[in-house]
């Protein structure tokens, strides 16, 4: 089923159900330019997500330069009734002016066939017929740092 979005808006937001120790719904910006999903620290607090047990913090590259972010583990993330997980997401402060609690990145989006119908303002997420990507993207290992 399709979810409506404003084709003229500067960003597209989707409702995500985030399961840490506590389950919360929040609006996230759909961001195909983000390799990882990012949540604001206060949101991570309220869902009581625990630190991921490996490779933390993770180096990240933003438009403003290089930085690092902590990783936390979500039991699951649900979009339009489809659930993936467990998944490790990044926790780092986002601009206070951003009208969303996080960014929904490719680590979760690649579980779906994503259709953005700008003519009709409809976003459709279609789960793959099999779970074939599950094993490869449920967890993440940072690539080795490049030599200077």
């Amino acid at each position: 089923m399709a979810a409506p979005f404003d084709p003229q808006a500067s960003t597209i937001r989707v409702t995500a159900v985030l399961q840490g120790l506590v389950r919360r719904r929040a609006r996230l910006v759909l961001d195909t330019g983000a390799s990882r999903t990012v949540l604001a620290p206060r949101l991570v607090e309220v869902i009581q997500a625990r630190p991921a047990g490996h490779v933390s913090p993770v180096p990240i590259m933003t438009a403003g330069g290089m930085a690092s972010a902590e990783q936390v583990r979500l039991t699951s993330v649900s979009l339009q009734g489809f659930t993936v997980g467990p998944v490790d997401v990044l926790c780092t402060p986002l601009p206070t002016q951003l009208g969303a609690a996080g960014l929904l990145g490719l680590d979760i989006l690649r579980h779906f066939n994503v259709t953005l119908d700008f003519e009709h303002g409809e976003l459709t997420l279609e789960r793959f017929p099999t779970d074939r990507v599950k094993e490869t993207i449920a967890t993440y290992s940072a690539p080795p740092a490049r030599a200077a």
Binding site: A9, S10, R13, R25, L43, V46, Q97, A101
Partner: protein, 76 residues
């Protein structure tokens, strides 16, 4: 206890504010449909403060304004 409201309709009534709902009904696609408005504020901090300690409730956090403020562009 606040009244049950339509969440999509209530979102339209608050411009450029962060809202915190307790969700009592949602669609099969997990979109919140009906619930109680627990808090609204121009800043997100009070919303998270209000959500603390309400672990048993199904809460929904949203912002009714644009994700990127008018006059700004978003880039990676």
């Amino acid at each position: 206890m606040t009244d049950l409201v339509s969440i999509p309709e209530t979102e339209k009534q608050y411009k450029d504010e962060w809202l915190l709902f307790e969700v009592v009904e949602s669609s099969e696609q997990d979109e919140p449909l009906r619930g109680r408005l627990l808090c609204h504020h121009p800043d997100q901090g009070p919303i998270y403060d209000h959500a603390d300690g309400k672990d048993a409730l199904d809460l929904y956090i949203t912002f009714t304004g644009p994700a990127v403020p008018d006059g700004y562009e978003a880039v990676l």
